[in-house]
Amino acid sequence: MNGFAKFGNDLYTGRRSIDFMGRRKVWFALSAIVLAIALAGLFVRGLNLGLEFTGGSEFRVSGVTNLSGFEGRAKDVVTRTSKTQENVTVTQVGSQGLRIQTEKLDDKTTQAVANAVAKEFGVPASAVSSTFVGPSWGQSVTQQALKALIIFFLLVALVLAVYFRTWKMSLAALLAMVHDMVITIGIYTLVGFEITPATMIGFLTVLGYSLYDTVVVFDKVKENTHLAEITGRQSYSQAANLAVNQTLVRSINTSMVSIIPITVVLLFGLFVIGPGVLLDLALVLLVGILVGAYSSIFIASPILAWLRESEPSSQALAKRARKFQESRGGRANASGQLVLPDGELAVDVPVVEGAAPRSVASSGSSRGGSTGSIGSTGSTGSSAAGTGSRDRRPLHPSVQQGGPRNQPRRTPRSQR
């Protein structure tokens, strides 16, 4: 675990930096391919809608005396006779009746199923009636939900634009969300699972999760880019890249914590419970959360950086940052942090003679190996002063002089 903690530390300081922004063409291309596959699946295979959406056949059995284990028996009979696997619901109606719903069957199969059911439950064939049932999740429900979604998108775009004070973040977040939706639905379609109301709810959850994840990352981007604008040491993309790196550990942890329960539910659904609401939801969420975590890092932030880079203020900032970085040796990584040739993070301040560095040197040498294993792995041959100061964030020379800086002073009591 120490490795993971170190990884997190390095990401935070910018010593190690994954170039999310610079390689955006790679991510975009990757996403484009997956999107194309998902869309192809959507158009070629189409959505496999469940009977809640399309309606189906319903059998009613009356006068059943032996109801023990009716659910399993009815399911067995129906799946055996109709050769359909999915979505057979069996419900007891009243004290002696059964209701069996399946996807829509043709007349011949309907007759066969009705006879088989009658035989199984020991009732005359006349006691089994079959009808067609309409969708319980009709067109209008879908339309209502879509209307609600569109209004939600507009509102969320507005809220995010106000909160982040730029519409480009709204746009990037919404694009990432659409990306997630299409991929999730596409993969679901490709696998060939039936879409049930539970799945629809799963899609909505994915959508919420995707936005949530993106907002968390963007909040850090906002903070870092704001700082960069003040210091002028990083370009917009570099600051955003650092933010994504810094929230990477959070993203991994969050995704893990979300995925763990889902995986358990999924495994239960697959091996213990069998197809049903649990399995439907778990699958859609697993895919959705993975895609959502991916898009908040690889899609949303690069889109944002791409949108912002062309702005004059961002270009001016990039110029300032380049100048600054060149003046300090020029080896800035993707997050705009200066890196020494040996891979260590450079302190932007050269070693200053005086009290503080000396103390650093002495402590660096005296602390031995106890903290050295954690602190600086690459601290072999370099100078003692460098060892001590390299792992931490650079200090400005003025602060190394030891004493307090200029600050408001209390008037001496005698003069008050």
Binding site: R99, G134, V216, V399
Partner: protein, 688 residues
């Protein structure tokens, strides 16, 4: 524990536990004295319910088309949804039946409202008479002692329906008048209304968007005799009352056929009973169609002073056209003699209210329907009016209880899966955050407790049902709830990486994490609210669960996790970043031997590598006054201001001499103060 720095945190924690206990107490009370249960109410798929098959009522060779069925299904779905978050299922069966499945425990009034077409029409009253044909019509008859019985009596037992009681029934109402406060223009109707104030007066409908009151005396059927043969000029014209209609009216016995549904043709006059069967009417053609109603809300009637009367009413709002029509009608009716100044509200061929217009035209497009409502029936009527009329009337064909679609083992296994998932989440957070992970665990347990209590309470008060999808959603909300803790912890760690002490890092990290948590939860809440308000069916249930867990997430992180962590940050274990605390500066890559800016112009100088050197430093600095403060210097936190002997940090010699020094030593346990800060700085010393 009496640390003043943790006072507000402890206060917040106390608030949280008081809230939690209050919820539990409310639930306990509701279980004891009301019909609440200790477990959440389960939805249709888990607990079963009632299935109603509705068959359209078709006259003659009439057929239903698909469009009508779709519209009927939509309206029924809205009506069921409008009455709560019950997640009912509405679908068609065999092309012309509608199947509605609702969880058990759905109020009967909601089921009843399904079959009503809810065709609401406003018609002027031409002639009125008591509902029972044996009753002799009388103009504002004296209150007979039998009328002191409940007004329901005339309806159920027609024999008791004296003319006066029935007569008083409607005229007691007036547009713009709360019926109960009738001052009595004539003495006679008043006693009739008053003894039955609890029953007859609420029965007496009143459209009251406003002021005072005149009791209209009961009219008689005799007016109908004066039938002019001329062509009627407006809907209030008595010319509508033809001989055939008068005969039909005389023959009508409301007490015998309380359920008979009159054929309601908008352009023709109508003979109708009121909904209790106590009065009958000849009504003019329709003035305003119910489709002009844009909104209907159930509520308590208020008097002009704003006090509630305890009487349930339905407030309706017309669209622009309906409002104009309402204005025109009330204007015309105002000038007419009683009973023709009454405007009847006809629902499915029955008069549910016929208040008289006495206070002039009513503008503004708002009206209030009062009647024999309780909260449930008023709500049901409001839903029916709001969602429009069914294209057809329906009758109940069968009504059966149905078993759960999912076996009980599904729920059990689902919960088991959730429990395993929770344990794994706990393990993961312990690995990632060490002992700090226990804070996550405690928070998750608290979140679970609050969610459980909320759902159970909402099941009792709002008929909230937990479906399988809802259960799954709750299992998955473990992840999203835990995320706010992760965001928070990571921010705290970031602050520690920046060199803050644990206590300071917790506060600074919280300030930053709070914004992130709030905005991301706000987005989720927005999704929940929009979906809840606009979508229907299952989506509503999902939206409700999402909104609930989001709000609880915010509550937990604000009222529990943060105060808990800020208290813990001041313990030695976390505050000093001991191993396994999850906040060890070393693990977070902080070099304890580094100079760091500690804020307010102060810096923490490097800690000495050995405790001896630090102690030595202190010894020279603070002398014996510092020494007894035997804080474990060796394991001192990174911000312990020990100065290596060889560091020529500007330790002010004055600092040792001034009386400030012991004070500095005393506070060191909580918050170490850098020598340069605790003493006076050199320049200042020079001034002195």
């Amino acid at each position: 524990m009496a640390n003043p720095r943790t006072r507000s945190a402890r206060r917040t924690l106390t608030t949280f536990f008081v809230l939690l206990l209050a919820m539990a107490a409310l639930l306990a009370g509701a279980t004891r004295w009301s019909d609440a249960e200790w477990t959440p109410k389960l939805g249709l798929d888990l607990a079963g319910g009632t299935q109603v098959v509705l068959e359209p009522q078709l006259a003659g060779g009439q057929t239903v088309n698909e469009g009508q069925m779709t519209k009927a299904v939509d309206i029924m779905r809205k009506r069921v949804d409008g009455s709560g978050i019950a997640e009912a299922e509405v679908s068609t069966q065999g092309g012309n039946n509608i199947v509605v499945s609702v969880p058990s425990g759905t109020p009967q009034a909601v089921l009843d409202s399904l079959e009503k077409s809810s065709m609401m029409r406003f018609r002027p009253v031409l002639v009125t008479a008591p509902g029972a044909p044996t009753a002799t019509p009388s103009a504002g008859g004296a209150a007979s002692p039998t009328a002191t019985g409940s007004a329901a009596t005339p309806a159920s037992t027609p024999a008791a329906a004296t003319p006066s009681a029935a007569g008083a029934n409607f005229p007691a109402a007036a547009l713009r008048s709360p019926a109960a406060t009738t001052p009595g223009a004539t003495a006679t109707p008043t006693p009739a209304a008053t003894p039955a104030a609890t029953s007859a007066a609420p029965t007496a409908p009143a459209v009251t968007p406003g002021a005072a009151v005149t009791s209209a005396p009961a009219a008689t059927a005799a007016t109908g005799a004066a039938t002019p043969s001329a062509k009627p000029t407006d809907p209030s014209d008595l010319a509508w009352v033809t001989d055939a209609l008068a005969k039909q009216f005389t023959d009508l016995d409301c007490s015998k056929q309380p359920d008979s549904v009159a054929v309601d043709d908008a352009s023709k006059p109508l003979v109708a009973c009121d909904d209790t069967g106590a009065a009958k009417f000849i009504l003019g053609p329709t003035e305003i169609e119910g489709s002009h109603i844009t909104d209907a809300q159930a509520g308590l009637a208020t008097t002009q002073s704003g006090a509630t009367t305890g009487q349930y009413v339905v407030n309706i709002t017309f669209d622009r056209e309906g409002g104009q029509q309402f204005y025109d009608v009330t204007k015309r009716l105002n000038s007419l003699p009683s009973p023709r100044n009454q405007l009847a509200m006809v629902l499915d061929g029955k008069v549910i209210s016929a208040p008289s217009v006495t206070q002039g035209a009513i503008a503004g497009g708002r009206a209030e329907i009062s009647g024999t409502f309780n909260s449930v029936t008023a709500d049901a009527l409001a839903q029916q009016l709001k969602f429009g009329a069914l294209p057809l009337s329906f009758t109940v064909q069968t009504k059966d209880t149905i078993s759960p679609q999912l076996g009980s083992d599904q729920l059990r296994l689902g919960l088991l899966a959730g429990a395993i998932g929770l344990v794994l989440v706990v393990l993961y957070s312990l690995i990632q955050y060490r002992v700090l992970g226990l804070v996550t665990v405690a928070s998750l347990i608290m979140a679970a407790a609050v969610i459980y209590l909320s759902i159970t309470l909402l099941g009792w008060s709002q008929n909230f049902r937990l479906s399988m999808a809802g259960v799954t959603g709750l299992i998955l909300s473990i992840g999203t709830t835990a995320d706010s803790f992760i965001v928070y912890f990571e921010r705290v760690r970031d602050e520690i990486r920046d060199g803050r002490s644990t206590a300071a890092a917790v506060e600074a990290g919280w300030k930053r994490a709070r914004g992130t948590i709030l905005i991301s939860d706000a987005v989720n809440l927005l999704a929940a609210v929009v979906l809840y308000l606009l979508a229907s069916s299952n989506v509503r249930g999902f939206a409700f669960t999402l909104g609930l867990t989001t709000v609880i997430d915010v509550i937990i992180v604000m009222l529990f996790t943060h105060p808990l962590l800020s208290i813990l940050a001041r313990t030695k274990f976390f505050g000093e970043g001991r191993p396994w605390s999850g906040l060890e500066p070393e693990r977070l890559g902080v070099d304890r031997n580094a100079i760091r800016y500690r804020g307010r112009g102060r810096f923490s100088a490097p800690t000495a590598s050995s405790s001896t050197s630090a102690r030595g430093t202190r010894g020279t600095r603070g002398g014996s006054q510092v020494e007894p403060d035997d804080e474990p210097v060796g394991s001192a936190t990174s911000d312990t201001p020990a100065i290596p002997a060889d560091a020529d940090a500007p330790v002010n010699p004055d600092a040792q001499a001034t009386p400030d020094a012991p004070a500095a030593a005393g506070t060191r346990r909580r918050r170490p103060i850098h020598p340069s800060a605790s003493g006076r700085d050199p320049q200042e010393g020079a001034v002195l």
